[in-house]
């Protein structure tokens, strides 16, 4: 296809992506170098006829607003935002590494820093939920493959629901059930005979609840893909493996699993990308006290009641994008190699 025709076809799409994906990244990068204006303070001396004089400091709202209108980005701060306590916190980490009482202490104190807290949960969620959901999906696919056809239809129908459900809605539905007055929460209290048991109270339980939600909503995708893959496993290979005396497990291990390996790579890639942006469940489960993610910290900065912290949100955003690139690196390198090999 000539370059000109290609361009004519793809231009609208490219323009949309450049304007609303590439440009915002630049905008985020610029924003992250600035920090909100300090409020303009005004010292006023008021003298009472009898009580003498007193000085008070007030916020000059007019001057503050004017300053904001002139420089909407705020003050230039360089890379300051990246290194402050709310982000990479190099000073604090240096301090922790210098003075500490053992590895546990270091971990606990680093975990107290907001950025590392969010990073820890995001990574834990990504790398725990993805394999567990794939495993569950694989087992469901194996099981559905051998149950009577009568069951297959309803199973596929209902399995799709947890996957396509709006993340916020799905997490709310589960959140109401695990509420101490909801069906699961109340039952757990009864089972453990502990009326104060609450899945929201401790960090460990909150993390576990979010992971359970993640597996619930992610497993169907693996299930559907693996189930489709199972239909294409060559019957001849299975049969010859059996003639050679392979047990049921060995057939799964040495015939089915290698056959599904390319699909597993695809599923893992998609789910790692999706889980890395974990955000809605934290809102839905009101879990921010015990678990925050990178996406949630950005949301929180933008939602700040007093002043929207664009600088801080921008810095976290860029660090998150860097994380995405690192996450995709193996894929990008592989694709690049294959491409270079081909041409």
């Amino acid at each position: 296809m000539p370059h000109k025709t290609f361009l004519a076809f793809i231009l609208p799409s490219i323009v949309a992506m450049l304007l609303f994906i590439a440009l915002p990244i630049v905008s985020v990068a610029v924003q992250s170098l600035f920090v909100e204006h300090q409020k303009v303070l005004l010292t006023v001396e008021t003298c009472q006829p009898l009580g003498g004089c007193s000085t008070e400091t007030r916020v000059d709202s007019e001057a503050s607003a004017k300053l904001r209108a002139e420089q909407p980005l705020g003050q230039f701060n360089g890379l300051g935002t990246y290194f402050n306590r709310a982000h990479l916190a190099f000073d604090e980490i240096g301090e922790i590494l210098r003075v500490n009482s053992g590895l546990g202490d270091v971990a606990a104190r680093i975990y107290d820093l907001p950025f590392y807290r969010a990073l820890a949960f995001t990574l834990a969620y990504t790398f725990i939920v993805t394999p567990l959901a794939m495993l569950l999906g694989f087992v469901i696919a194996l099981a559905v493959n051998i149950v009577p056809a009568l069951l297959k239809g309803p199973v596929i129908f209902f399995s799709l629901l947890p996957m396509i459900i709006t993340p916020l809605i799905g997490s709310l539905i589960l959140f109401w059930m695990i509420n101490s007055e909801g069906i699961i929460g109340a039952t757990l209290q009864a089972v453990f005979n502990d009326p104060t048991l609450s899945l929201k109270a401790s960090p460990v339980l909150t993390w576990a609840t979010l992971f359970v939600y993640g597996v619930w909503t992610n497993a169907p995708f693996s299930f559907v893909v693996f189930y489709a893959g199972l239909q294409t496993v060559p019957g001849d290979t299975l049969e010859s493996a059996m003639i050679d005396g392979a047990s049921r497990w060995e057939r799964i291990r040495y015939v089915v699993m290698p056959h599904l390996a390319p699909l597993a790579t695809f599923v893992a890639l998609v789910q790692l990308m999706d889980n890395f942006r974990v955000f809605e469940p934290i809102v839905g489960f009101s879990a921010q006290a015990n678990a925050t993610s990178l996406s949630f910290s950005i949301f929180n900065d933008l939602r700040n009641q007093n002043a929207q912290l664009y600088g801080s949100a921008g810095a976290t955003s860029l660090l998150t994008i860097a994380g995405v690139v690192v996450l995709l690196m193996p894929v990008l390198i592989r694709t690049w190699r294959e491409h270079a090999h081909k041409s």
Binding site: S27, L161, I164, L168, W176, E181, L328, L332
Partner: protein, 292 residues
């Protein structure tokens, strides 16, 4: 199937039990919430026992009936959830239509180009696809405030279209690859220009792929929270941010039930979607995987 492939009975039973168990896990939360949305708050969130939610003890006492639609009335009438539903309809339909129009053109070009830069565009799209939406949202807000376009539906629509483009391009690109090149090339030999070939030959055969991609575009627009929550003002809120705003005022009695009713209402379209398009959704999920 040969006799040797037959499975032992215990394995069959085990598999069936497991599948039924998964079916329960997948479906029960929805059934439970639908049922509970027709009860009063003190039943759905019962301090005594969850059996109250099943039998509706307090609902009977408070309203005189087994079921109550108070939650739905509160959400749809009192809190104008219908307005959010209309906004959602506008946003999702526009996002789907525009995404598909841009996506089919772009996807077709990528599938037929054969030049090296087409590959790099796809790789860039993959990186864009992986980016958390909220990171982009933080880049939109200041410029949109400055340009005075923050808060309006068209703004959110165009942003969602752009965010959706990488996925649409990938999906339609691989779909167009499966349509034989000979088809449009023979049309061009017969004297069509590239555009005419696209219009007369490719468009008539592309609908299965477009419908599947459209379903996922619809889901993206419908399920979005990050973009719509941050970029729309109170009047233009779509359903999902509206539900989260119900939660903000959770302490007022009865408000939780509004949220429950709204959640059930917002689930209904998704349920219908799966009911009618199950085959397309499944094929869409597996298409990307098989072609990988």
């Amino acid at each position: 199937m040969s006799v040797a492939m037959r499975r032992p009975l215990p394995l069959n039973i085990l598999a069936t039990v497991f599948v039924v168990f998964w079916l329960f896990l997948a479906a029960f939360p929805f059934l439970w919430t639908v049922w509970g949305s027709l009860k009063v708050e003190s039943d759905f969130f019962s301090r005594e026992s969850f059996w109250n939610a099943i039998f509706g003890v307090r609902t009977q006492l408070e309203t005189g009936g087994q079921f109550t639609t108070a939650g739905y009335e509160g959400a749809w009438v009192t809190n104008a959830f219908w307005k959010s539903a209309i906004n959602t309809l506008i946003v999702t339909v526009s996002v789907t239509m525009i995404s598909l129009t841009l996506g089919t053109l772009g996807g077709y070009a990528l599938a037929r180009s054969g030049h090296r830069y087409a590959f790099w565009i796809l790789i860039a799209a993959l990186v864009f696809r992986a980016m958390p939406h909220i990171t982009l949202v933080s880049g939109y807000m200041l410029p949109f405030f400055q340009l005075n376009i923050w808060g309006h539906l068209p703004t959110a629509i165009i942003v969602l279209v752009a965010i959706n483009q990488p996925f649409t391009l990938w999906m339609l690109h691989s779909f167009f690859l499966s349509i034989p090149k000979d088809l449009d090339e023979s049309a061009m030999v017969d004297g069509c220009s590239r555009f005419e070939a696209f219009r007369r030959v490719v468009i008539p055969v592309m609908w299965p792929g477009v419908i599947t991609t459209g379903l996922f575009s619809f889901l993206l627009g419908y399920n979005d929270f990050a973009v719509t929550a941050m970029l729309l003002n109170q009047n233009n809120q779509t359903m999902i941010p509206k539900i989260s705003s119900f939660l903000g005022s959770i302490n007022d009695a009865g408000n939780v039930m509004y949220a429950v009713a709204a959640v059930v209402s917002a689930t209904v379209p998704l349920f219908i979607l799966v009911l009618f398009f199950q085959r397309q959704i499944v094929s869409g999920l597996t298409a990307g995987a098989v072609k990988g």
